[in-house]
Symmetry: C2
Subunit: 263 residues, 2 copies
């Protein structure tokens, strides 16, 4: 019987892969991957193919969620399923693991570096103090859900930070920018009016976290609206109550105004 | 002027280090490390020394927090500061980075795999649905803070999961076990009486996450009190509202009773 190994590729490039991950991928008969929930910053799937010496069969959302391609292959041999970031971050990865085990395929995980913690590290914010994570979707005509704002408010009112992940439409090559997210937050504030996003609210952005060109910024909304964060992927953090060291780190490393240290 | 690079070593062993991290550590003139906030599971600092071909100068909490050893060395050359997990997870790491930059030392980060996300992946729980993280300390005579219970309750009452980190007393070789944490939760429930930890509350434990001997378990408190999770490090998760796939994953991979799937 076969084996299915879920490998998180981390965030940067093939140079950030562990010896264990590379050896495992080299040993596999087939390597499948999905790059629609996230992608590597410093490398392409082609670079990974060159490193491990085999093709990566790239799957669409439909192929991961509805088809049995991966499980069928794993019944017959040693198969890997790779994703950027950590593995199992999406429900569909967990679902795939369950389906494989139910077919008698043994499974294993090789963890990868994830935006869920690397973003807080990049900004110097304490990972303990993050509440639930939120995703802002691209606006659809006639459909503007305000639940992300409400969930951020729910964290913020408790003094907790919020990691805000931004929509990815990989098929269309669209990646929401931090600027767009700041505009979304300002619009949501107008609609809900809870006083969370004011002229004096610090918003943090982190671009290409885990890559060689990682960039962080933190400032008031009007500044963040035009801050050039460069190419994707971007993420945003709405901080809650800042510890002195956190405020200091934002001022020192992310360009936040010095007066936040005194507050 | 020198350089200080903060390297997160991840959770497993030296085999889990990236090519980039190994190359960087080999290039450094000095490598400092602290292993009192966390430690590698599959390797010792000696294994790392053998891999990179130099000594790792192990620092006590006092040396990291109060002394200028690392910054002074980084003024003169290329220096690394290594920790298990991701770097910057502790306030003192951020403080060290700030002190270095203030002395004109340039700094950089190489991220590592962190318990903050690998634990949710190991259990098949969705990382989005975690509220703030909590640490349970070893009880001290005459001092039993209930704030961890209150913070877990705050997450739980909103349907959010809580990652519960367990106290490490590295100097004394004491690592809190999942069993001790479950006992702590049951005692806190008795003291506070909010109805969160009942006979029918599922508690999850994950041991040696990110290592070759990773083990997960999920069950009712009375069962988890005696579940043998093996050697440290252990972590606990008090789940909030479980999505169908999450409940399924806990039943399938962590031995939780099947009836949680129906709930």
């Amino acid at each position: 019987m076969g084996e299915l190994i879920f490998v998180g590729l981390g965030l940067g490039g093939v140079d950030d892969l562990s010896a264990r991950a590379i050896r495992t991928l080299k040993e596999c008969d087939q390597v499948y991957g999905e790059f629609y929930t996230s992608k590597l910053i410093d490398s392409t799937p082609d670079d990974l193919e060159a490193l491990i010496g085999k093709k990566i069969i790239r799957l669409s959302r439909k192929e991961v969620e509805e088809e049995e391609t991966v499980v069928d292959a794993a019944k017959k041999g040693k198969v890997a399923f790779v994703t950027a970031g950590d593995t199992m971050a999406a429900t569909t990865h967990v679902d795939l693991k369950i389906r494989a085990e139910e077919e008698g395929v043994s499974t294993d995980l090789i963890h990868g570096i994830s935006i869920f913690t690397a973003c807080s590290s990049a900004l110097g914010l304490q990972p303990y103090k993050f509440g639930r994570t939120v995703t802002i979707p691209f606006p659809e005509p006639g459909y503007t859900p305000l639940s992300p704002y409400e969930n951020i408010y729910d964290n913020w009112s408790r003094g907790l930070h919020t990691l805000v992940l931004l929509d990815i439409r990989e098929e269309e090559g669209r990646y929401m920018t931090a600027n767009q997210a700041v505009q979304w937050l300002m619009d949501a504030e107008k609609a809900k009016g809870l006083g969370m996003i004011t002229e004096k609210t610090i918003i943090c952005a982190a671009a290409r976290v885990g890559s060689r060109t990682q960039k962080v910024a933190a400032n008031y909304p009007q500044k963040m609206l035009v801050e050039d964060m460069g190419p994707p992927l971007h993420a945003v953090v709405v901080p809650g109550k800042l510890h002195f060291i956190e405020a200091y780190a934002l001022a020192k490393f992310a360009g936040a105004p010095e007066d936040i240290i005194e507050d």
